[in-house]
């Protein structure tokens, strides 16, 4: 997929690009308002990652411009402005999602993947990973021909893992993804383990390989073996 990252903090955009390009995605960057405007006027992207505070202009204006020229690009706002109004404004203006800084790269990746999926396959929302087939519309999972019954949390976890395939995902990223960042779970990572254990067991029982690898202290990695 082709991504445009509009972000003025170079070390942050560097990390994001590294995280995204490894997969062979095309990832372009714009560091300020002017170059961002140029790029969105010339090229098409699957998803635009937009920071709201930019040198030379307001990110909201870029969003307005995108919508004005009727672009179909997905837009994900990444901002340190937790302001609820900003969030609502952004979503009302047609942004697809809003992520507050600081965020986990895995969360960003999952959200971008979801946006791109929604945008590119009209209606047929199927994620495929080897023998695993996920229908995001029906929220059902198949391995080969058999249907895999997962709980809501296990399902979310699997989608999250596949979006971040071959990446190490931290426990706190998983916790925040599954329970939201309103709940401070930093003292209770144990029951993330329970969900992962159950998911792993169900996958293996359904005939999949053991894709989930535990990285001691840090988190987990979902990887094709």
């Amino acid at each position: 997929m082709k991504i445009l990252l509009i972000e003025d903090e170079s070390s942050l955009s560097e990390s994001i690009i590294t995280y995204f390009t490894e997969e062979g995605n095309i990832c372009e960057t714009a560091m300020d308002y002017k170059s961002a405007m140029e790029k969105i006027n010339i090229y098409n992207y699957d998803c635009i990652l937009l920071d709201l505070t930019l040198p030379g202009g307001d990110g909201m204006e870029i969003l307005r411009a995108i919508k004005k020229i009727n672009k179909k690009d997905g837009v994900l706002i990444i901002s340190a402005r937790h302001a609820l109004d900003d969030k609502l404004d952004g979503l009302n203006l047609g942004a697809d999602d809003y992520l507050v800084k600081p965020f986990h790269l895995s969360e960003l990746k999952a959200r971008v993947t979801a946006i791109v999926r929604r945008k590119s396959y009209d209606g047929s929302n199927i994620i495929t990973f080897n023998e695993i087939q996920i229908d995001t519309q029906a929220m059902s999972v198949k391995t080969g021909d058999s249907v895999l019954i997962l709980t809501r949390k296990e399902y979310d976890l699997l989608v999250y893992f596949i979006a971040n395939n071959s990446k190490v995902i931290t426990k706190s990223a998983i916790a925040e993804h599954l329970w939201g960042d309103e709940i401070d779970l930093s003292d209770h990572f144990d029951f993330i383990y329970t969900h992962i254990k159950n998911l792993r067991k169900k996958l293996v029982e359904a005939g999949c390989k053991d894709y989930i690898k535990s990285m001691y202290g840090v988190g987990y990695k979902f990887e094709n073996i």
């Binding site: 706190s172 209770h188 988190g219």
Partner: protein, 417 residues
């Protein structure tokens, strides 16, 4: 005591003393002058009698006419005495009544016989004069005092009006309020000065307060980007294969710390936002439904701690921002879980008037006066000490009342709507 009352009292006492004192002096002087005049008249009469005796060798006719009376008495030469004036009452024959008088008595020798001569003049006129003067003085005094009182009451009150106005504004002064102190123009220099001083002081204080607040706000904001960088760099770092277990653990700890720091920052920003009243968008929220939803969200956390949750929820709708309502319930509920023990209990009770969340926990009662302060936490707490401060601010914003009590070994937090 009010300034006007105090002032009234002082002026009243002072003027009464002055009036009494001057009155006494006035009375004595006038009395002295009138008596002196009477005495001179008596002396003239005496001279006439003496001249008559000298010329005719006998006493003139004794008698009483008009306001004057002359009488003679033969006395023993051995009882000769000095001439003297004195006050007495005498019978005025023309008026047929006893009147106060002034008399001069002396001895006079007529043909070898010694007579005492008494000349008496009526004091009625001079007494009347004194009385009239006294009455006039008294009435002037009373009129003056009454005027003074009236002036004090009405004029002073009027003059002090700007003072009371500025005072009431100062009492109502609120740092977080957007309204500034309104200055009413006055013609009195002192009050103009006072008003100007108060206005500039309030402006300065507000300015400082604003700066301090925007400092917190900006500082928290500016911290978000470096935090995002740290987080993303860590995320990148862990992708680079091969960590030993101890390295992994270190990175895990850093994640937890960064997570705490960003939550702290977000809480500070949230507090600033609530304090600045920047939260809009109220909507009607079914509180009972929200609580049910939250308890579902916390289900696993409750189970992992074996906490027994009991709820008794009556339907209750409130008008507030959805996000804040979320945050309020979240904070109270996660506190109740965090400060509980394994196998403990949480009881949530909601009715039309109040929401109370009580939980079993440590035996130490929290300090009710401090529990809602920022960064207050007991030693065992792992939180940041901002959750309750935020909850309290949210309640204040909507004029709810958040209370803490320790009842029957339970910590009870109660929101009264």
């Amino acid at each position: 005591m009010k300034l006007a009352t105090k002032y009234n009292r002082v002026t009243l006492i002072a003027s009464i003393i002055v009036f009494v004192f001057t009155g006494v002096i006035y009375y004595s002087v006038i009395h002295y002058i009138l008596t002196d005049k009477l005495d001179r008249d008596l002396a003239i009469e005496e001279d006439e009698i003496a001249a008559y005796v000298k010329t005719y060798g006998k006493l003139p006719q004794a008698g009483s006419f008009k306001e004057q009376k002359v009488s003679y008495h033969l006395i023993d030469p051995a009882h000769d005495f000095e001439r003297r004036y004195f006050y007495n009452d005498y019978f005025n024959e023309s008026e047929q009544r006893i009147e106060p008088g002034r008399s001069l008595i002396r001895t006079i020798e007529v043909n070898g016989k010694l007579y005492s001569v008494t000349v008496t003049k009526s004091r009625v006129e001079s007494e009347d004069l004194v009385r009239i003067i006294f009455l006039i003085t008294l009435s002037i005094t009373i009129v003056l005092l009454v005027t003074l009182l009236l002036i004090n009451r009405f004029v002073l009150n009027n003059i002090w009006k700007p003072f009371y106005e500025i005072l009431s504004q100062m009492k109502a002064f609120n740092l977080a309020d957007k309204n500034d102190i309104q200055i009413e123009p006055t013609k009195i220099d002192e009050f103009t000065e006072l008003n100007a001083a108060v206005a500039s002081m309030s402006l300065r204080v507000k300015q400082d307060y604003r700066e301090l607040k925007s400092f917190t706000d900006n500082a928290s904001h500016e911290m978000m980007t470096p935090l995002a960088v740290i987080n993303s760099k860590l995320d990148t770092l862990i992708q680079t294969e091969t960590f030993s277990d101890s390295q992994g653990e270190l990175i895990g700890d850093i994640y937890v710390a960064v997570g705490k720091l960003s939550r702290l920052n977000q809480s500070l920003l949230m507090l600033a936002k609530i304090e600045n009243n920047l939260i809009g968008d109220q909507e009607t929220i079914d509180l009972d439904e929200l609580i049910r939803q939250k308890t579902r969200q916390f289900q696993e956390l409750l189970q992992s701690q074996d906490i027994n949750l009991k709820t008794e929820l009556a339907g209750k709708q409130i008008n507030m921002n959805k996000h804040l309502a979320d945050m309020l319930i979240n904070n109270l509920l996660s506190n109740a879980i965090r400060h509980n023990y394994k196998g403990g209990e949480i009881y949530i009770h909601l009715n039309e008037k109040e929401l109370s969340i009580s939980n079993s926990g440590s035996d130490d009662e929290l300090i009710a006066s401090k529990v809602f302060e920022r960064f207050y936490k007991n030693a065992a707490s792992e939180g940041m000490g901002l959750g309750l401060a935020i909850s309290n601010q949210i309640c204040n914003l909507y004029h709810f009342k958040l209370n803490y009590a320790y009842q029957d070994t339970r910590h009870v937090f109660k929101v009264s709507f």
